[in-house]
């Protein structure tokens, strides 16, 4: 009897070990057999594509969209996709950001989407967004955004320190990097150090990267463009002279400059004159953060508001150098069982005139999306103002922004029109798959040099070593 009991117990233990696995496989089997809706799995790094996915579901009620958001702060998203694709467990559709889209375009993980090209021609999709996603003549992804760069400054501060807030005159004052530095000096002196030109050094690094003559990698070798040298010098000058607020980009102090709530350690209020952000920076970054914020008062349940509403006090110009920054591409993963569906989604997101118009004009409000899927919560929505990839759509809707929220934010300036002028001139021929790794490796040495903690030789050596560490197959001299 005892024997029997212990044998049974051992058997139960083993069974419970494998029970988890068998249950799961049974479930998936059921799914494919019955007539449940088709599932489209999408991975992205923000909630933007989720908005699109909900809208897509509204058009195709028979399809169930499974959306997964993974943040990319320190590169988690890229790593997660790579390991999932390597293991053959990727989703059907992935979103790719400008800084790493090339790695995936150059790999063999994405489906050929070249047959959608005629649609792109009809919509006059900006050529650079297609070039970016083309490798060996095959187009593997499409973007719904074009992202020309812009320069946003505070009108009230401009009037105070330069005597005018007229965009054309300010453009002359900050027209190139020399003038930009000079203007920073004027602001510092006239404000007695209480107003900074920019919030962080990180704000203008993109300008220098975008204006290089050569790509980072030529014939498998690391090339350090003279622009990098210039960047080092400007960064040092800004840090040493106190022209920047020493904030961390995308961190609290950096955002605090947008609603005038920046306070230094001694309790003195500080202001930030300008932010260097591209098209998407206006609706997604600057506008949501330029309103007063509620914070908890220490030691009680009450809240107090800090900062003030700076809407209407901003203006938008080209700034010291032309550039572009960011952008989201969508692609179908190779080997997906839902290829047709995935293609349909890419088509809807990037190559559908109606969707692009809805996207740019802010049709996808929270109520609109909730009608399709009530479970999305109260936050998901798409405000107007994102700059889309179709020249045809842009030309049709640009004048509609004369009275939009974005234009009110810029005191009547229609930024959409100026972006429309800048977009056709963008070239992305310098972009390579390794850019992200190389530019991230430059961060720490750049800060060391700017803070005076390393000579330029030491900083460059640190940079080269970091690149060698991140990219073992690259030749670094």
């Amino acid at each position: 009897m005892k024997k029997l009991i212990s044998l049974l117990m051992a058997a139960f233990m083993l069974m419970s070990l494998f029970a988890g696995c068998s249950n799961k496989s049974a479930e998936t089997n059921n799914n494919t057999q019955s007539n449940e809706p088709k599932v489209l799995r999408i991975w992205s790094f923000t909630d933007e594509v989720k908005t699109m996915a909900v809208a897509f579901q509204g058009k195709h009620p028979d399809i169930k969209v499974e959306y997964t958001m993974i943040p990319m702060t320190n590169g988690e998203y890229q790593t997660k996709i790579k390991s999932a694709l390597q293991a053959g467990e990727g989703p059907d559709v992935i979103a790719l950001e400008a800084s790493f889209v090339r790695e995936f375009i150059e790999s063999d993980y994405l489906e050929d989407l070249s047959d959608l090209l005629p649609l792109a021609q009809q919509l006059k999709t900006y050529q650079f967004t297609i070039d970016m996603a083309t490798h060996d003549g095959i187009v593997k992804a499409f973007s719904y955004q074009a992202t020309p760069g812009a320069y946003f400054y505070r009108r009230s501060l401009a009037k105070k320190y330069f005597g005018t807030d007229d965009p054309e005159k300010i453009q002359e004052i900050v027209g190139d990097m020399k003038k930009f530095e000079q203007a920073a000096k004027v602001i510092k002196e006239k404000s007695k150090g209480n107003t900074y030109m920019v919030a962080s050094i990180g704000d203008f690094t993109n300008l220098f990267f975008a204006n290089r003559q050569q790509p980072w990698v030529v014939d498998g070798k690391l090339v350090i463009d003279p622009k990098v040298d210039e960047l080092f010098e400007v960064a040092k000058s800004f840090r040493q002279n106190g022209y920047e607020a020493q904030a961390n980009q995308w961190q609290e102090g950096w955002f605090a400059g947008m609603n005038d709530s920046l306070v230094d350690a001694k309790g003195n209020p500080k202001q930030v004159f300008s932010y260097i952000l591209p098209t998407w920076g206006l609706p997604y970054v600057l506008m949501p953060n330029s309103a007063p914020k509620e914070v908890k008062v220490e030691g009680s349940d009450k809240t107090k508001t800090v900062g003030k509403n700076t809407a209407g006090d901003w203006a938008c110009i080209n700034g010291p150098m032309p550039y572009q920054w960011g952008g989201t591409w969508v692609a179908a993963v190779k080997g997906t069982k839902n290829l047709d569906l995935a293609k349909e989604f890419v088509k809807f997101v990037a190559l559908d005139e109606e969707n692009l118009k809805n996207w740019a004009l802010g049709t996808y409000t929270n109520e609109y999306l909730k009608k399709i899927d009530p479970t999305i919560g109260d936050k998901l929505s798409q405000g107007p103002g994102d700059f889309v990839s179709s020249q045809k759509v842009v030309e049709e809707i640009a004048s509609q922004f004369d009275n939009a929220e974005t234009s009110k934010f810029l005191a009547g300036q229609n930024s959409y029109k100026s972006f429309a002028e800048a977009a056709p001139n963008i070239s992305l021929k310098l972009l390579q798959g390794t850019d992200d790794a190389i530019q991230r490796a430059l961060n720490d040495p750049l800060n060391n040099y700017a803070a005076g903690k390393a000579t330029k030789e030491q900083a460059l050596k640190q940079f080269k070593e970091a690149v060698k560490n991140a990219l073992p197959e690259l030749i670094v001299e």
Binding site: T79, G253, D264, N447, K468, L471
Partner: protein, 316 residues
Amino acid sequence: MANTKINKNYYGYIFTAPFIIGFLLFSLYPLVYTFYLSFTNMTMMSKAYKLIGFENFKKLFDDRFFIQSLLNTWKIWLLNFIPQIGIAMLLAVWFTSTRLKIKFVGFWRTIFYLPNILMPATIAVLFFNFFSFYGPVNQAAVRLGIINDAIEYFRHSGWTVSIVAFIQWWMWFGSTLIILMAGMTSISPSFYESAMVDGANSWQMFRKITLPLLRPVLVYVLVTSLVGGMQMFDIPYMLTDGRGSPNGSIMTMNILMYMKFSSSKGHIGAAASVGVMIFIVTCLSALLIVKLLSEKDSKNNAKAVKGEVKGYELHN
């Protein structure tokens, strides 16, 4: 009847089978496979790869990062382990002392253990905000007149290392405390009672009774902490930019491994070679600790017991 005794051994195998199977599948196989991978140039972005011998290891020792990350890992571990075991020991002695009779021991123990159950990611973000340039630490310190100007903590190697070591200490001393207390309460109180009768003071009791009898527990704490310390990853990874900034001062071996793995192409082979090195370093140091401490352990134990017995005999 004699046969049943032999037959029963059979059940031992059945009951240990789940563990053995799990170990072979999820521990031994990955370990062997990691060794294999470290000799390949496999990446995540392409399916083809080939064996390249010791190339990965050669590259690893060629650039300064591996040695630096090795030193960093040891430095951060020692900086947090020494105060960790010191303070845990002190508190454990207080809490188990029959003389002091501290109240609410369970409550304090829980409080000290709490940081351990928080998510490392949350803690890292919390401390990053505390010590950021516009954060509360700078605000308070400047306004109280402790420092003149705000400090950029995360651009100074020394500060960043200290903060990581502090977090590790804060998170782990509670768990060490519990293990040490368990060890101390298992020591028979009669030793202390007879020592008290002899007029021994607290320090003498600690040195002559607690410490020698606690040695096996100390070996356990030291080895588990070493293994954990060599694998340090989440706090230093989340605290700054995931690359051990500034100056690679908090780049641990595991961060280096993850950096290779998450670099643009995802170099699995190069990452595996770091993993192999971590394995070797951890094994060697753990073996060394066990060997050094257990030898002393058996000798001292014998001595201590002998001494006690002698003392006991004399009194009678």
